[in-house]
């Protein structure tokens, strides 16, 4: 059985504005299934850029990317969308919930899109996740009625809905106070240890990073320590 969840080989990326600027230089690493990995580095070191490439949203790069053993190199936009839907769960710095929908519907949307389960089953799963994250009572509220910490937990529930191969998070605590950051970290930690969920967290919070299973440190677009 394939144990590598994600594998990046020689990823290079340039920002091509007036002058070419190399953001990523020969980034090669892999994340095994069940690992709790954080990527740290100073702001501007390319860690977010790397995350967007790994998440298949950014396709303008050189090198090879394997998700669950499958190359992402030559996939079309639509195929990549399916990959994101099925295999990747996202948590962003800002919650990015859809204000037009209830919390429950927000969590359900990726599941409805995948349509692996019926709408009823997806709803049930969504409730389960919300319950696990302690926000079941907010299910029928709208995102703008929730606090920042609650929103971030909804975003985590949404990331979990399709039982993803890997959850990627971009500064998930960057916009939260100490207490809520702690709650979010505990959730990630529980997911990693109790459910063996693969996690890849980009953060500049060294305290946060130090408590993860493995730290990948980046400086100027290169991995310096792992």
């Amino acid at each position: 059985m394939e144990q590598t969840a994600i594998k990046a080989i020689g990823i290079n990326k340039w920002f091509r504005d007036q002058t070419d600027f190399r953001v990523l230089t020969n980034v090669t690493f892999s994340v095994n299934k069940g690992e709790f990995v954080s990527v740290t580095g100073k702001s501007g070191c390319g860690k977010s850029t790397l995350l967007y490439i790994l998440s298949t949203m950014d396709t303008d790069y050189e090198g090879d990317l394997y998700l669950d053993g499958a190359s992402m190199r030559d996939k079309k936009e639509q195929e990549l969308a399916v990959v994101r839907n099925e295999k990747i769960g996202f948590v962003f710095q800002f919650h990015y919930l859809l204000n037009e929908f209830t919390v429950l519907k927000n969590v359900m949307l990726p599941g409805l899109k995948l349509a692996r389960y019926t709408a009823h089953e997806v709803e049930h799963k969504a409730y389960e996740h919300l319950k696990m994250l302690g926000i079941k009572d907010e299910a029928l509220k709208y995102p703008n009625q929730l606090s920042g910490g609650q929103k971030q937990r909804v975003a985590i529930a949404r990331a979990l809905i399709n039982d993803p191969l890997i959850i990627m998070a971009d500064e998930p605590t960057g916009n939260l106070d100490k207490k809520n950051s702690e709650v979010v970290f505990d959730i990630f930690s529980e997911l990693a240890h109790k459910y063996h969920q693969t996690l890849l967290i980009v953060t500049h919070d060294n305290d946060f990073a130090s408590r993860t299973g493995r730290i990948i440190e980046m400086v100027d677009g290169q991995i310096v320590g792992s």
């Binding site: 977010s48 967007y52 998440s55 949203m57 950014d58 936009e77 639509q78 969308a81 399916v82 990959v83 994101r84 839907n85 099925e86 996202f90 962003f92 710095q93 800002f94 990015y96 919930l97 859809l98 204000n99 037009e100 929908f101 949307l109 990726p110 409805l112 899109k113 995948l114 349509a115 709408a119 949404r158 399709n162 971009d170």
Partner: protein
């Protein structure tokens, strides 16, 4: 399942911006309403104007025209067969204007399955004698019952009764213009003089007004027998046979057939009144152009609102894409939004358009020229409604297509990074 999800999302986005959506839908409703009302009204007017001609004009008229013989004797002579004949100063042949064997021709036409009805007619140039003055005129000997049935003759009798023409011996229905000039009233006896000098006393039983001044100033109607008496001709003397067909479109073809068959001149309504058709076509084209312009303007309204919505919903689009919705899904969502605006706005527009047409159809419209018309004419043609539906869907689709394509191309990374 997937379609329902797309529909669900589209609906939520629509409701989140229901005011803008409403404005866009009202734009479509308004344009569809005006489109239908305009075309129905214009169609009604066209029909009315056409009916001025088609209702009272025979679809085919059989008659004899005074014309030079087509084949001259010199051409028949065998000795000149291979020669080229120059014949100067040809004159029309002197021949009778009546239709030979008219009884048999009418009987044959009655049996023809294409023919809805036949009416004989006899036209004669006359003078109406008023005191010392003579007014030139045209006397039509008609079968009043057949003319009323086939060519709505009765509709244009503004006083008296068409049937009196056959009931009253030597009765005459005067054109309104003629009657005004002669200061004649119903029951008066007037005198007409035929081209051959015969005088006849006729009793005025009614007035006729067609709405065409030139006609009303000249023409009058008597029974066929009365006209024959005036001209001193026998009972079979008829100058015109008027034919109404079941299908007016067959007129040009059948006119040729009848002309050959009965050895007469035959003219069909399309040839005789080609200018009316042209006028009608131009009016229709103009009203379609205005209507389509309205729809296109509404389309721009939808385009604007969708564009705005997409700018506002950039984050939502980015997140949908990040969580696995493809560009095509996003495009479908926005096209669906546009189409819902079009379908709902258009649907309401069809109803209000019908309502507006109905209101127009109740507005009084009285004119001397059109004695049978009392309200504005409206053509409730289902075709207008079909065209309006198709166009509303088409323009809204086009209006939705470009913004939604833009939405589908939004790069989630750019949006998410930008924060």
């Amino acid at each position: 399942m997937k379609v329902r999800l797309i529909y669900d999302i589209a609906l939520s986005l629509l409701l989140a911006r229901w005011r803008q959506t409403l404005v866009a839908a009202i734009g479509v409703t308004f344009s569809i309403t005006m489109f239908i009302a305009l075309l129905s009204f214009m169609g009604g007017l066209n029909k009315l104007l056409d009916s001025l001609i088609t209702n009272r004009t025979p679809h085919i008229r059989l008659y004899h025209q005074l014309q030079p013989a087509k084949v001259q004797p010199a051409q028949l002579y065998p000795g000149f067969k291979n020669a080229y004949n120059f014949i100067a100063s040809i004159k029309p042949k002197n021949r009778q204007l009546d239709i030979h064997n008219s009884g048999a021709v009418i009987a044959a036409l009655h049996r023809d399955a294409h023919v809805a009805g036949v009416a004989p007619r006899l036209q004669a140039q006359v003078f109406y004698n008023v005191g010392v003055t003579d007014i030139t005129g045209l006397l039509n000997g008609i079968d009043a019952a057949a003319e009323s049935r086939l060519f709505s003759f009765g509709d244009y009798i503004i006083a008296g009764n068409a049937a009196d023409l056959s009931a009253v011996t030597d009765g005459i229905i005067l054109g309104k213009g003629v009657a005004d000039k002669m200061l004649a009233h119903i029951g008066d006896v007037i005198q007409v003089t035929a081209g051959n000098g015969t005088h006849l006393q006729l009793k005025v039983v009614g007035f006729y007004q067609s709405g065409l001044q030139q006609v009303d100033d000249v023409e009058s109607f008597v029974a066929v027998g009365t006209a024959q008496k005036l001209l001193g001709e026998p009972g079979s003397y008829i100058t015109d046979i008027e034919i109404k067909l079941n299908d007016i479109k067959e007129a040009p073809a059948l006119a040729k057939v009848y002309g050959r068959l009965f050895n007469v001149d035959a003219i069909d309504i399309q040839t005789a009144n080609s200018e009316f058709e042209t006028g009608g076509n131009i009016r229709t084209t103009i009203s379609y152009a205005v209507g389509v312009t309205l729809l296109i303007v509404a389309g721009f309204g939808i385009y604007n609102i969708l564009n705005m919505m997409i700018y506002e919903k950039m984050d939502s689009i980015a997140i949908l894409k990040a969580t696995g919705f493809s560009g095509r899904d996003v495009r479908n969502i926005f096209i669906l939004i546009a189409l819902s605006i079009g379908v709902i706005g258009g649907g309401v527009g069809l109803i209000t358009g019908f309502g507006l047409s109905a209101i127009i159809h109740h507005v009084p419209f009285n004119t001397n020229a059109l004695p049978t018309v009392h309200v504005y004419p409206v053509d409730f043609n289902p075709r207008f409604y079909i065209i309006a539906s198709v166009f509303s869907v088409l323009t809204t689709y086009m209006a939705g297509y470009f913004p939604s394509r833009k939405a589908s191309k939004i790069d989630p990374v750019v949006i998410i990074r930008g924060k």
